[in-house]
């Protein structure tokens, strides 16, 4: 994968992100360096307004850095045109949203299938095979024809996970995936993602939920737009994080 990134799927180098806010400028991200290897199960942690969602958006190619480099799957996103970034998202990234963001008019099967329909290289049989496999893995085979409105929050997030994985992305980004779920459901969702991770998918969450942090193998702490702790090692500060957040 070029750019000397080795097996890294995400490389952020001295990344800043400024937002204009009235006459002032908000420095949301101030010189962040992150390197995420393939197969990681990492968490971006920090309080509200710390910049973790901004970092996630930069990695997700839905936002562009003010300065520094954001390299996703070996490609410098700043050098890409808007349509190329879109394509990069389609081929490389999977998204799990805090509020699930399923398409309300489509049923479960169609929602999971949707990202595949945006790709022209996957035929109908392959689409069906992948969708059925993932729906089965998230345990919703019986609800195939139901629409988002007819599913519970946990079921919806399972659908969202299936949808994020159906394109077999290099990395799945999840923004506060358990924030709208009760703790038991959150746990089961987390467990599901961990299983997926064991099968080789790279996950990066943003969260301030200590339960999620506890489940992560690496917690990158962000405070005031800067990396406070790169969090190498197995859950080195999981307990502390829990204590800190609550």
């Amino acid at each position: 994968m070029g750019n000397g990134a080795g097996d890294a799927v995400v490389v952020l180098e001295a990344v800043t992100k400024d937002y204009p806010l009235g006459k002032t400028t908000v420095h949301a991200v101030r010189g962040v360096d992150i390197r995420l290897e393939r197969g990681e199960f990492a968490v971006l942690a920090g309080p509200s307004g710390s910049g973790k969602t901004t970092v996630l958006n930069l990695i997700g190619c839905v936002d562009v850095a003010t300065s520094g480099k954001v390299i996703i799957a070996g490609r410098d996103t700043k050098l890409l045109k808007e349509s190329e970034r879109t394509r990069l998202r389609l081929e490389t990234l999977g998204f799990i949203f805090q509020s699930f963001n399923l398409i309300p008019v489509l049923d479960l099967y169609q929602n999971v299938e949707f990202p595949l329909l945006l790709r022209k290289d996957i035929d109908k049989a392959e689409r069906k095979r992948r969708v059925l496999e993932l729906v089965e893995r998230v345990g919703l085979t019986g609800q195939m024809k139901q629409r988002p409105g007819e599913l519970s929050g946990g079921q919806r997030q399972r659908v969202a996970i299936a949808r994020a994985l159906v394109t077999r992305p290099a990395i799945v980004l999840a923004d506060e995936p358990t924030a709208n779920l009760d703790s038991a459901t959150g746990q089961s969702i987390l467990e599901l993602m961990r299983q997926m991770n064991r099968d080789g998918t790279t996950f990066l969450f943003s969260t301030h939920d200590p339960v999620v942090m506890a489940a992560a193998r690496r917690v990158i702490r962000i405070a005031d737009g800067k990396i406070a702790d790169q969090g190498f090692g197995a859950n080195p500060s999981a307990g502390a994080a829990a204590a800190h957040a609550h």
């Binding site: 839905v62 998202r89 299938e113």
Partner: protein, 715 residues
């Protein structure tokens, strides 16, 4: 594509209120385009029929030197235009007939004459003369009784006049004449030499009668046979065609009914028509009420037409009908004519069964002679007597005033009346000058002539009395006039002379044969009408042929020849329609735009999500376009279907004309809208364009939603 359509349809269903509102507008708009176009096409066809098949033909040709534009209908309403003349119709005709597209060539001239309405004494004397000429003596006693009754009332009128007259000498003479005519001795002598007695009555007594106003008779001077054969809607209604080679006049039934018919009968007809066509009632319609009041106020129009015998008959019949013992006829008539909605039909029938046959229902009847007064271009007065041969109508257009504007006269009489045959002669001018006592006065002598002493400026008017008639061969003069009126002519005479304008019919334009009774009401297939392009091609060929033959002529298509007022009718209707359609689609446009913009805002997160997952902007635009297209197909299709059904239904049943002008616009009693695949295509294109354009702005707005919008948690 499949998923986009699914999303589109689900969205339409999800926002069903919005979908129904937009759908309703789109359906109505499409329906209106289909039905409106069908109607407008039928109206254009109808108007073409009303103009082409009654008066203009496909082309109208006038002299290149014409000072005014030919405006067929305005000519009748305002002033007869100066169209110059085409000196030799025959030569132009042969040039025109050499053009393969030309089917028929009809000579024409438009004119208008004042006709003084006959007084009741004139009318009765004319009837008396006819009965003497025919040798029908059975009617004579009643006629004589009627004439004597009128003479009696004239004596009373003259007495009143004498009281206010300055010249009692003249009225004394008139009184003496009247006294003679009123005397029993005069009538005892009548049977011995009836024509001499009539001569006295007609020349001395008739001028004392009160004339019943005057008429303006518009007419087309033409070759009646060619006119009747080629103007497809022409039908004889009563009487007969002017025979070939003979002079004469034919009334247009509409004109005849409206202007020549007995006023009381006409008003009853109008009330009947209004009740039948528009469902108006006497109780509620002010206009109908007024007509009833007029009829009640003008019973003398009936009574003065009844001779004593008939007056008695009518009195008895009315007493019976009304169950009244009233002995005075005029009072009975007033109660009889006080019609209401309940008794109208019965009294209408009674009027036509019992009263109409006893009065003169029309001021001029078939067989009468009309004296038409006109003038030549230089103002020289002319008069011709023409016989009324018959009454014609235009099939389906009987009730149209516009179609009824021209009567028909033979071309020879027209030439005589307008002085078309002769150049403006020095003689004619001299004669006018002599009559007006105009003399050429050198400029330097003008003052003397005006103010100088010794010159008699005012000559005493000739102090003629009626005695100047004495010694004249009145019967001989009458014979001369009759000879002129009855003079026959050959087709060659007719064709060789001058005309004012020429109507040309083109080939391939009229599918049904002339004279078929179906023509009036049958729905017109588009193919039976000549289209504008074909017409223009043929017109140019005609122009070319005339130019090559050395004629300087104006060749107008019927649409120009009809004049801007009538032409404006069709254009006005079209404009009205397009404005309505435009408004509906504008509203639809705004509603779609607005609702989709709102939907875009509602769906910001959804669209952001789709974009985040990797959908390009074009995909989002397509998503909206398909939603718009789905609406266009569903509701446009519905509108097309309903529109087609409506047009087919109306085409079969016909839309009845409910007002005088509608008969003309519809080209008959009913309008039969035509379904045309082209209309459906146009309507569908319009709706697709409207929906897509109104979808475009929201679609672009949606495509601009950044994928980051997906991240903004809302739930």
């Amino acid at each position: 594509m499949g998923i986009l359509l699914r999303i589109a349809l689900r969205n339409l269903r999800l926002h069903w209120v919005r979908t129904l509102i937009v759908g309703f507008l789109l359906t109505v708009g499409t329906w209106l385009v289909v039905v409106g176009q069908g109607a407008i096409d039928a109206i254009h066809a109808g108007m073409q029929r009303s103009v082409v098949d009654t008066l203009s033909g496909h082309l109208q040709i006038t002299s290149g030197a014409a000072k005014d534009d030919l405006e067929l209908y305005q000519s009748a309403a305002i002033a007869v235009p100066d169209l110059g003349k085409i000196a030799d119709f025959g030569k132009v005709k042969s040039v025109l007939q050499s053009v393969p597209e030309v089917d028929a060539v009809i000579p024409m001239g438009l004119g208008r004459s004042i006709v003084w309405g006959a007084s009741s004494i004139e009318t009765k004397l004319a009837e008396l003369r006819r009965s003497i000429n025919d040798g029908t003596s059975d009617k004579r006693p009643a006629l004589i009784a009627h004439v004597r009754a009128i003479l009696k009332s004239m004596t009373g009128d003259l007495d009143k006049l004498q009281k206010v007259a300055s010249d009692t000498k003249e009225t004394d003479a008139q009184k003496a004449d009247l006294a003679r005519a009123n005397s029993d001795a005069f009538w005892q002598e009548f049977d011995k030499a009836p024509l001499d007695a009539l001569e006295f009555l007609e020349n001395r007594i008739s001028p004392l009668g009160v004339q019943s106003g005057f008429y303006f008779f518009n007419y087309v001077g033409t070759d009646p046979g060619a006119f009747a054969k080629n103007f497809k809607l022409f039908r004889m209604q009563s009487g007969e065609m002017i025979p070939e080679g003979q002079r004469g006049f034919m009334f247009n039934s509409n004109y005849y009914e409206r202007f020549v018919k007995h006023r009381t009968a006409r008003r009853l007809d109008e009330i009947k028509e209004a009740r039948e066509l528009t469902g108006a009632t006497i109780a509620l319609d002010e206009n109908l009420k007024r007509m009833v009041e007029h009829n009640k106020a003008q019973v003398s129009q009936i009574t003065e037409q009844l001779d004593p015998v008939k007056a008695d008959e009518v009195k008895v019949l009315l007493q019976k009908e009304l169950g009244s013992t009233e002995g005075e006829l005029s009072k009975l008539l007033v109660s009889f004519l006080a019609v209401d909605d309940d008794n109208f039909q019965r009294r209408y029938d009674f009027f036509y069964k019992e009263i109409a046959p006893r009065i003169r229902l029309y001021a001029y009847m078939v067989g009468d002679t009309i004296s038409l007064y006109g003038q030549t271009k230089s103002g020289y007065p002319r008069a011709v007597n023409v016989k009324v041969w018959g009454v014609f109508r235009y099939e389906g257009l009987e009730k149209s005033g516009l179609a009824g504007v021209y009567n028909v006269m033979d071309l020879m009489s027209f030439r005589d009346l307008t002085g078309l045959s002769e150049p403006v002669s020095a003689e004619e001018l001299a004669s006018i000058k002599a009559q007006a006592k105009i003399t050429d006065i050198p400029r330097e002598k003008a003052e003397d002539e005006l103010f100088g002493a010794g010159t008699e400026v005012v000559t005493a008017a000739d102090n003629k009395t009626f005695d100047d008639l004495a010694g004249r061969d009145l019967a001989g003069m009458r014979k001369l006039a009759e000879a002129a009126q009855n003079a026959k002519f050959s087709q060659a005479d007719l064709e060789a002379g001058p005309v004012v304008n020429i109507a040309v019919f083109l080939k391939g334009a009229q599918a049904s044969a002339p004279g078929t009774s179906a023509a009036g009401d049958a729905p017109l297939a588009k193919a039976t009408l000549i289209d504008a392009e074909q017409l223009e091609v043929s017109r140019l060929k005609v122009v070319d042929a005339l130019k090559k033959a050395g004629f300087d002529m104006k060749v107008l298509p019927w649409s120009s020849a009809q004049g801007p007022l009538v032409g404006g009718l069709a254009a006005g209707i079209s404009i009205f329609f397009y404005v309505i359609v435009g408004l509906i689609f504008f509203v639809a446009f705004i509603v779609i735009l607005n609702s989709l913009l709102m939907a875009t805002m509602e769906r910001t997160q959804e669209i952001g999500t789709i974009r985040a997952m990797g959908a390009q902007r074009g995909y989002v635009i397509r998503m909206f376009a398909i939603e718009g297209a789905a609406m266009a197909v569903i509701f446009g299709g519905l509108g097309l279907g309903l529109g087609a059904l409506t047009v087919i239904g109306l085409g079969a049943s016909g839309v009845p004309a409910t007002s005088e002008i509608l008969f003309f616009i519809f080209g008959g009693r009913e309008l039969h809208p035509l379904l045309d695949v082209g209309h459906l295509a146009v309507a569908f294109s319009v709706i697709v364009v409207v929906t897509l354009v109104s979808t475009l702005i929201p679609a672009i707005a949606a495509a601009r939603i950044p994928p980051i919008a997906a991240m903004n948690a809302k739930e």
